[in-house]
Symmetry: C2
Subunit: 260 residues, 2 copies
């Protein structure tokens, strides 16, 4: 099995209303890289948000009393915390430097995925996540297929921290044309013992992590990665299927036992 990843160079800064798929195809046309059938196009949520005009001026935000209180605990800007609360359904943890919430769409992550860094307009703006990333992925996919004439999949990616390990790894916020999460249940294992319920492959998240290797970080700014060689024959499932139901959260249920 052979897989290739290539970051698209030369994408311009993305702004509200931009035809992101057209800009991606333009960028590819200027490169030596051509989209082929069954390629997966991984796009960071950040540029999708910019195209969807999810940039908010912090000066326009009046923080609530709860936002001010959580801002004191966490050391975050109260206006940013107010936006986090508006985007979220639940505060999971608040401590100095860290505000972990459940986004209204189910993702559990720091600051509801709201980003102040790398945003055109400087410190005084915040960039919210796309409103409906699975929907955005579907729309971008259709437009890319219209422009290129080849069947493609699209993943809208972000990165989340991990409770027990350092650094952020990739997650799929949205996906279209790909089976985001696949169960191996019932498939025979190597020595006949059936695989357990844990045998779930979060394909779209693995692709989002792999794409981070090609996209670079920080000032490199390559938000589009083409992934080739993924088996996309399984029935598509949206990225929202990757989210554990609240009742299945590792930290969402009462303990049956708790050792030392």
């Amino acid at each position: 099995m052979h897989i290739e990843l290539a970051a698209l160079a030369g994408l311009p800064m993305i702004g509200p209303g931009d035809d992101l798929p057209a800009l991606i195809v333009d960028g590819l046309d200027r490169s030596t890289f051509e989209l082929l059938a069954n390629d997966v196009v991984v796009i960071t949520g950040k540029v999708v948000s910019k195209a969807e005009d999810r940039l908010i001026a912090l000066d326009s935000i009046q923080p609530s009393a709860r936002a001010v209180s959580l801002a004191e605990v966490t050391g975050k800007d109260p206006r940013l915390v107010e936006l986090v609360l508006r985007e979220s359904s639940q505060v999971i943890r608040a401590r100095p430097g860290n505000l972990l919430v459940r986004h209204r769409r189910g993702w559990i992550s720091a600051m509801a995925g709201i980003d102040r860094s790398n945003v055109d307009g400087g410190d005084e703006h915040a960039l919210l996540l796309p409103v409906d990333p699975d929907g955005s992925a579907a729309a971008i996919r259709l437009r890319l297929m219209e422009l290129t004439g080849v069947p493609l999949s699209v993943i809208i990616s972000d990165s989340h921290g991990r409770p027990f390990r350092l650094g952020n790894t990739g997650v799929a916020l949205g996906a279209a044309g790909i089976c985001s999460v696949r169960s191996l249940e019932g498939q025979p294992a190597l020595f006949g013992r059936p695989l357990t319920g844990a045998s779930i492959v979060p394909t779209a998240d693995l692709i989002a992590s792999a794409a981070m290797l090609a996209s670079g970080e920080g000032n490199e700014g390559r938000p589009v990665v083409i992934v080739r060689g993924i088996d996309v024959t399984a029935s598509p499932r949206p990225a929202s299927d990757l989210i554990r139901r609240e009742s299945e959260d590792l930290f969402g249920q009462p303990d049956h036992a708790y050792g030392d």
Copy 2:
């Protein structure tokens, strides 16, 4: 930036004392694939464990009272739970179907990474993790370089579940010749705002996740993946550096605030 991943086909079943690097090089010799300078060789912990004879007959294990009690809570085999306890320094969570522990080496994962599935010898054996995966990675790397004459990096991989998302993603248990975790601290961001402390890139974990896309799962059994195109110029850091210190665990500290 262009990255390629290829799974090595045709590796034989690995047993105690096998010269794993030699078998990998033999497998490559029979394929059309050649190791090049700066390739990263990703090997699942499972085959390293087999080569290091970490297979334990469950019949030889006498479960303690605590193991029996935790086995009742979790529904796991008491002998397996006994092994988990011997490998661990702390039980994090125990509930039906799920026993989450801190391994003595620091990893927090289900069942201390002990595997009953896909193990030669059937149900009555358990496979423990390698004793010192960073050390194993270093030894395998030296031997691979000796056999091939090219500078390489090695990652020993496993997969861990996530508290809030479905499916397992890749983690590096051991690494040699690669900077497992890199800080972008101080690097300028795109619009001059410095990146925050969260800007840590867990390169070795991202590679382990990417390798899962190439290796397949379940009955496919391709435990070695070659990754090409990774920048390996940064000073090496072991995979143990990827583990959060206990005091920094997301769920290891008392809350400063807890909202709903």
